[in-house]
């Protein structure tokens, strides 16, 4: 099973952006290793060697 660790403390909490309505911070539960995610107009996936390779969306 994939190890899941809670990254606690203020440093690990997601902070509200500038000018955004104040909302509760999130405590990130971070499974070990990278998971595929899309940001902007690009998507990323961990490569076979563990490196992140860009895969545009």
């Amino acid at each position: 099973m994939t190890a899941v660790t809670a990254a606690g403390g203020a440093g690990a909490r997601l902070q509200a952006g500038d000018g955004a309505e104040a909302r509760p911070a999130l405590l990130t539960l971070v499974p070990s290793g990278g998971a595929p995610v899309c940001e902007g107009d690009s998507c990323f996936v961990p490569g076979a060697e563990g490196d992140w390779a860009e895969v545009p969306d």
Partner: protein
């Protein structure tokens, strides 16, 4: 237990992540003593400047957009399609209509008002990635909405008037407030964030971890943190 999911229809990892999340929830639900999981989807536009219509294949779009050879773009798409296949999805990038998704998000919000949000999200994902259906044009979206039981004319009126655009923007604002930069992103009970298309086992473990955290008082958490800090300080002292 509530899970809020930020995703975009034009996000290959969001559909793959949806399948993996659903598998994780199913494993979580298999235990008798676990709470029911309520899921709500929220809007996230990865590329708001994308045009509604593009003539050509997805590989050709990527080639022009990223300045890479078509063959390289195709290789990347084949890689993603292979991963999609591993979770039972048949991505068809040849038939895909690359498009803007803001209107699709409006239809998702309309469907939520009618208690059909999850059906609409699934229908839009399969339309975009598997069936080569257009998810950016009013008429096509009206057909897709009707296919899950929405009133076709209401879908068209919603899109004509941008009646759900404020709801889309509110979701995006909340994502910014949370600091969400990429999708899929999962927020459990409004407190715990999980980024990316994790494996089912990871989702299941996160849900179980949140249940355990629910049963832990703030005082107990503070004590645990203090003990951890004390242990770390003791370890540091020993190694000096």
């Amino acid at each position: 237990m509530k899970v809020d999911v930020w995703s975009d229809i034009a996000c290959p990892w969001c559909y793959i992540g949806k399948r993996k999340f659903e598998a994780g929830v199913a494993a979580f639900d298999a235990s008798d003593d676990t709470p029911a999981v309520e899921v709500e989807y929220h809007s996230f536009e990865l590329s708001p400047d994308t045009p509604v219509d593009f003539e050509g294949t997805e590989a050709e779009f990527l080639s022009g957009h990223k300045g890479m050879p078509v063959e390289q773009a195709q290789q990347m798409l084949d890689h993603v399609a292979g991963i999609a296949a591993s979770v039972g999805l048949s991505y068809d990038f040849e038939r895909m209509h690359h498009t803007n998704t803001v209107k699709a998000h409006q239809v998702i919000h309309l469907a939520k008002q009618h208690g059909k949000q999850l059906e609409m999200v699934e229908r839009l994902f399969t339309a975009y990635f598997e069936r080569g259906e257009h998810v950016g044009q009013d008429e096509s979206l009206a057909d897709l909405g009707a296919s899950i039981g929405l009133d076709r004319d209401e879908v068209l009126a919603t899109l004509r008037d941008d009646a759900q655009l404020a709801a889309v923007r509110a979701d995006q604002e909340q994502a910014r407030a949370y600091g969400i930069n990429g999708v899929p992103f999962f927020v459990v009970d409004g407190e715990y964030g999980v980024s990316g298309a994790q494996d089912p086992q990871a989702f299941e473990q996160v849900l179980r971890q949140v249940v355990a955290l629910r049963e832990t008082t703030p005082e107990e958490i503070a004590e645990q943190q203090q003990r951890a800090a004390d242990d770390a300080a003791a370890d540091a002292a020993v190694t000096r």
